[in-house]
């Protein structure tokens, strides 16, 4: 079906390929992808961007973005991105990582990329579990939350406490921009888009490491309808992972997006 150009109000961003995503219905990975693609379109940087895909449900992110892409070992995306950026400093390099990838197995890589102030952008999808492997406990799983590897609910006495990544990384000098947003309703999605744009602008201007943590859903492994999973984010995730601007350096505050 063709739509007359003046009737067209919503289309695939140019930064997307034609490939439909494999995400479950109601999963916010797709929303996060779309926001990144819109930002790449707006900044006109599709032909100078290199994405780094993680291991996790978004492992095939490289199929969806119409940019160069590489696929990292589990957790190592920030190191791979560092290698790329150090030899191609004038390109846009971003990683897209889940919470198992970034906050567990890849903790060393993300902390040091941030501490070095690598001019990278990290989009961090916090869905409080290991989606891809079938919903095991992640470092971000909420206390008491049932997962396939915490069947009685996460017991903080034996399984520890959630890690708040945006807060933690914001203490590092090398970080220019570090914020947390949520994808549970249109207003928050708009704020997330703005943050993603600012993060990429931070990199474009060489203003240091930038990360946007996005509270996300995993209706499949949470055992919820898409609508209830959005409610869960609002009622349980947001209180545990307060949204906010954890670090924005002065030069970045001047950026108007």
């Amino acid at each position: 079906m063709t739509i007359a150009p003046n009737n067209l109000v919503y289309d695939r961003p140019e930064a997307f390929t034609d490939m439909p995503t494999h995400y479950c219905p109601g999963c916010t990975h797709g929303v996060a992808h779309r926001l990144i693609a819109e930002v790449l379109d707006e900044m006109k940087v599709i032909d100078r961007t290199i994405g780094v895909a993680p291991v996790g449900c978004s492992v095939f992110a490289y199929n969806y973005f119409d940019t160069d892409f590489v696929e990292a070992p589990h957790g190592r995306a920030p190191a791979m991105a560092t290698g790329i950026k150090r030899v191609l400093p004038d390109r846009i390099v971003f990683t897209y990582q889940g919470d198992g990838d970034l906050a567990s197995i890849g903790m060393g890589e993300i902390v040091h990329a941030a501490a070095r102030g690598e001019n990278l952008t990290v989009i961090f999808i916090n869905n409080a579990n290991y989606g891809m492997t079938g919903g095991q406990m992640a470092p971000t799983t909420l206390p008491g939350m049932k997962t396939t590897s915490s069947p009685d609910g996460r017991d903080v006495e034996t399984q520890g406490y959630p890690i708040r990544m945006a807060e933690m990384l914001s203490t590092l000098e090398g970080v220019g921009y570090c914020v947390k947003r949520s994808l549970h309703d249109p207003k928050n999605i708009r704020l997330a888009k703005k943050a993603i744009r600012t993060a990429f602008e931070t990199q474009w201007r060489g203003l240091g490491f930038s990360m946007v943590e996005l509270l996300s859903t995993c209706p499949t492994n949470w055992g919820m309808t898409p609508v209830n999973s959005l409610k869960f984010v609002e009622e349980h995730m947001v209180p545990a992972y307060p949204l906010g601007d954890y670090k924005i350096t002065d030069p970045i505050k001047q950026i108007k997006v």
């Binding site: 160069d68 991105a81 030899v87």
Partner: protein, 371 residues
């Protein structure tokens, strides 16, 4: 260029720079740290990338990322650090991007010690990361050879889109020898048709080691193996010493080969017909030349600084046609030429049984000496 006194590790670093190294990522570990330190001074002055990573995991994945852009990139480490890099090596192999890794081996297993050893032969040549992948492994025995092989390693890695490892032991890394450096090559990045460097005026590219369909993964493994056959046909390198009329043939790589050469010279002075085959590429392994030597030799003697790792490759080539004896020092102990001379003299007077397990006979002799 004239000959100058070079320390092995620094010579390797400078040779890499002159071969057009664009980026180095590493982590300190004895006995290779001078490579990292040298490049920390040299690379930034040339406007090239140097980074001390947070770990060897970080370093090898930085190498992986830079390799995906088509840049000439390397890392270096020593045994425990190289173990940490095995994950990355497997991904690099699966993605078919070129990268160079230097392993200045030390005594192990575990933390072991910092003395020279060759215990990582199997890891480099046969094992390492998961999955089904070949890799090129070069084993220099002197500072000059390390310099020459450093430049070659980048060319081979790029030609075959394959990992090239340089394995040497701490004694080559630490020794000072007169050596000649090659001229500086310009570091012009090649335009590879697979590199992910931003899709400017071309279709986008993806580099990944994922082949979800087992048939596609199988095709990939076939492709890697096909390419490996080319490497085996074209890239075998070795050095022959006194082999024309040799009845006893010593096989040893790196420092073990070098020490053996002194023993061979001493034995020749005593009229013993002994020669040395020193594999320079331990992968691809010089099976063919060993096959040829099997027609001439009465006995082989494999000398290594481990408990007999390359020994198995020699036995595979010799296929029981003549006896193979073994002599090794391990754990960071370097054999003296006299020890090897004793072995040569013993073999010369008492024939080696083809039935005896060479490793067991050696172990029995070694423990008898110690007792």
């Amino acid at each position: 260029m004239s000959r100058e006194l070079w320390k092995g590790n620094e010579a390797i670093a400078e040779a890499a720079v002159r071969a057009g190294l664009e980026a180095y990522f590493g982590y300190p570990i004895t006995p290779q740290t001078e490579i990292l330190e040298y490049l920390s001074r040299r690379m930034p002055k040339l406007g090239r990338a140097f980074l001390q990573a947070e770990s060897e995991l970080g370093a090898i994945n930085m190498v992986y990322g830079a390799a995906c852009t088509g840049a000439r990139v390397m890392s270096s480490s020593s045994s425990p650090g190289v173990s940490l890099m095995m994950e990355g090596l497997s991904y690099i192999a699966g993605t078919e991007v070129p990268a160079v890794l230097v392993n200045v081996m030390r005594g192990g297993p575990g933390l072991g010690n910092i003395a020279p050893a060759q215990g990582d032969y199997n890891q480099a040549v046969h094992g390492g990361g998961h999955g089904d992948y070949p890799r090129i492994v070069l084993a220099p025995a002197s500072v000059q050879e390390a310099i020459d092989l450093m430049a070659l390693s980048f060319d081979l890695a790029e030609k075959y889109r394959m990992i090239t490892m340089l394995i040497l032991d701490g004694s080559v890394g630490q020794m000072m020898e007169p050596a000649e450096m090659p001229e500086m090559r310009s570091p012009n990045r090649k335009k590879f048709d697979w590199a992910t460097d931003g899709a400017l005026n071309r279709d986008r590219r993806v580099l990944s080691s994922i082949y979800l369909d087992p048939l596609a993964e199988e095709q990939t493994n076939f492709r890697l193996m096909q390419r490996w056959k080319e490497v085996m046909a074209n890239e075998v390198r070795y050095k022959e010493y006194f082999l024309e009329d040799a009845e006893i043939v010593i096989v040893g790589f790196g420092t073990a080969g070098r020490v053996s050469l002194s023993a061979v010279r001493a034995a020749r002075e005593r009229g013993i017909k002994v020669g040395l085959l020193r594999p320079v590429t331990v992968s691809p392994f010089p099976y063919e030349v060993l096959d040829r030597l099997t027609g001439q030799a009465r006995t082989f003697l494999v000398v290594e600084m481990n408990t007999g790792q390359m020994l198995e490759d020699v036995r595979l080539a010799v296929r029981g046609r003549v006896p193979v004896a073994f002599y090794g020092r391990t754990g960071g102990v370097v054999p003296f030429p006299d020890e090897i001379l004793d072995e040569i003299q013993r073999i010369n007077t008492e024939p080696v049984s083809a039935e005896a397990d060479p490793r067991q006979s050696w172990l029995d002799r070694m423990t008898a000496i110690k007792a």
